[in-house]
């Protein structure tokens, strides 16, 4: 990797020396004329039947609302400061089942084990636990500087993100070089994320381990534990449930380091393309401590209605829950290489063709292909644009994935997270854009420059599907 980076750096230096004379450097235009404000938001809904928090079966219903504000401020003719702040407010049936027993999910001992209706939890029923919803917040600041001839662009960024079980600090920098009369651009970017878990564990595992690895906690004193036959077990006997691995997260850190290389080229008056390569190294606790795993080679134990144990994997089961064998365990390093390319072609004043392809592989065994196409269609002299989109995605499974009850306890690493399974997906979308280059419609001192609305439907071969509505409003200051 070091050798590759040296070759790439030498390439940039050689090219920049060879292209010193640039006929476009005589006129210096401001990089950003005025303050620009983007208000973006999306609403996402999802349905599925392979919830990872409940071991690969269960309700995956999720909704997410994400308002975001981006302000680009020109510091002078060469420099831009951009602030990007947003939240993501979500509710998730799967996450709620971190504690499926309808109690709250803070770290005190006041969990309400048996609710008034007697339902004691199921992977198919959303719990009222606090983990069922949260807000992810993010703010990042980016600074960019362009050289007088606009052929060199430096950038640096810093950011912070937080949610109830996770915090992240990110920073990075980049450099882009344009040459060949700005027909060609090469860039290099480096980014670091230093993340920390505030781990939350499945209720039964936490209750068992926190109270000396036995059944003496308030939680287990209040409930009967059933075996596969539906019989109440003797908690002091030998036929008892216990988590397979009593070691939880030791290293709460999770770091990501990436280097991105890019190259773009104008091919003609109507065509251009770009290629991207990312090299990503991750280390730390890369599995999610909320996600349960059930082993096929260990006995099963339940809390709830014994009569529904035979129907456990059916959505008709609303009142029995299987105690986890373990949380998912994944390697503490991961190396990922995605390579992508875009090709855009201006067909005529009405049609533009936008295409994208990516090949990805990593050392967890996932290989994937992504291809997408978008066809903007302009009308009313380009004031309005309608754009249909289509995206196809396919991936192989991670080496450590197996469905519910198909992992075995002799494995070192295991997960039943279907996001790491083998699947393919189709995504269909339509967008509508309004552009007013004169920004005539005003709100206070800001003129509305564009409105972008988009809808997408995502269909995954394992049964998960989702809808996403996105909207963007761009304002420019007078």
């Amino acid at each position: 990797m070091k050798k590759a980076l040296i070759i790439f750096s030498l390439l940039i230096v050689t090219i920049s020396n060879a292209q010193e004379k640039d006929s476009t450097s005589t006129y210096k235009k401001r990089v950003l004329e005025t303050i620009e404000v983007d208000f973006l938001m999306s609403y996402y809904t999802q349905e599925g039947k392979h919830a990872s928090v409940t071991g690969g079966i269960g309700d995956e219903k999720l909704t997410d609302l994400t308002p975001t504000l981006i302000i680009a401020y020109p510091l002078n003719s060469d420099d831009i400061l951009t602030v990007d702040a947003g939240i993501s407010a979500y509710s998730s049936a799967s996450s709620s089942n971190l504690n499926p027993f309808n109690g709250d999910d803070d770290d005190d001992d006041d969990d309400n084990i048996i609710p008034p209706n007697g339902v004691t939890g199921s992977p198919w029923v959303e719990s009222s636990g606090a983990s069922g919803g949260d807000v992810w917040g993010n703010v990042s600041v980016n600074y960019s500087h362009s050289s007088d001839n606009r052929n060199n662009i430096w950038s640096a960024n810093v950011g912070f993100a937080t949610e109830y079980d996770y915090t992240s600090i990110g920073f990075g920098g980049g450099f882009s070089k344009l040459f060949n009369e700005k027909n060609t651009e090469v860039g290099i970017k480096a980014q670091v994320y230093l993340d920390t878990w505030s781990p939350k564990y499945p209720k039964e595992i936490r209750a068992f381990l926190d109270d000396g690895e036995n059944y003496n906690s308030e939680f287990f004193n209040s409930v009967d534990v059933l075996n596969q036959a539906g019989q109440i077990i003797d908690k002091n006997g030998t036929d008892v449930w216990s988590p397979f691995n009593s070691t939880l997260i030791k290293d709460k850190g999770r770091n990501s380091y990436s280097v991105s290389l890019s190259f773009s080229q104008i091919l003609s008056k109507n065509a251009q393309f770009s290629v991207f390569l990312d090299l990503v190294q991750q280390d730390g606790w890369l599995s999610n401590p909320m996600q349960r795993v059930y082993f096929g080679d260990r006995d099963n134990y339940y809390i709830g209605n014994a009569a529904n144990i035979p129907n456990y994997t059916s959505p008709t089961n609303i009142d029995v829950f299987q105690l986890a064998d373990d949380i998912e365990r994944l390697p503490d390093t991961r190396f990922k290489i995605p390579v992508g390319a875009r090709f855009n072609y201006y067909i005529n004043e009405v049609f533009v063709l936008r295409t994208y392809y990516r090949y990805y592989f990593d050392d967890w065994g996932i290989n994937s292909h992504t291809a997408s196409i978008e066809l903007p269609i302009k009308f009313a002299s380009g004031k309005f644009t309608f754009y249909p989109t289509y995206r196809y995605y396919t991936q192989t499974a991670a080496d450590y994935f197996a469905p519910y009850e198909e992992n075995v306890s002799t494995s070192i690493y295991y997960t039943s997270d279907y996001d790491l399974s083998k699947f393919n997906s189709n995504q269909y979308g339509v967008g509508f854009k309004y552009t007013d280059i004169f920004a005539k419609f005003k709100i206070y001192k800001f003129g509305l420059k564009s409105v972008d609305l988009k809808y997408g439907y995502y269909d995954r071969s394992d049964g998960l599907n989702s809808n996403i509505f996105s909207a963007g409003f761009k304002f420019v200051m007078d």
Partner: protein, 70 residues
């Protein structure tokens, strides 16, 4: 693999000198729909794809980090 990619990149750069579209000829290239990056509102789609799929990166979105996703 990496060596092959770097060789491809070097070949691409060497081809760059073959074409030089002048600034005044770039009216179509400068069309907003021709930009070589995702649209700004596509960030939300990229975000959920990063969560719901095992791969990420090479699209201007996150390559990992910043969230409990891959």
């Amino acid at each position: 693999m990496l060596k092959k990619i770097m060789i491809c990149l070097a070949v691409l750069v060497s081809f760059s000198s073959c074409v030089a579209v002048k600034e005044y000829e770039k009216i179509n290239i400068n069309d907003p729909d021709m930009k070589l990056s995702a649209n700004s509102i596509d960030r939300f789609e990229t975000n959920f794809q990063v969560y719901r799929e095992g791969s990420s990166g090479a699209n201007g979105g996150k390559t990992g980090g910043g969230c409990g996703c891959n």
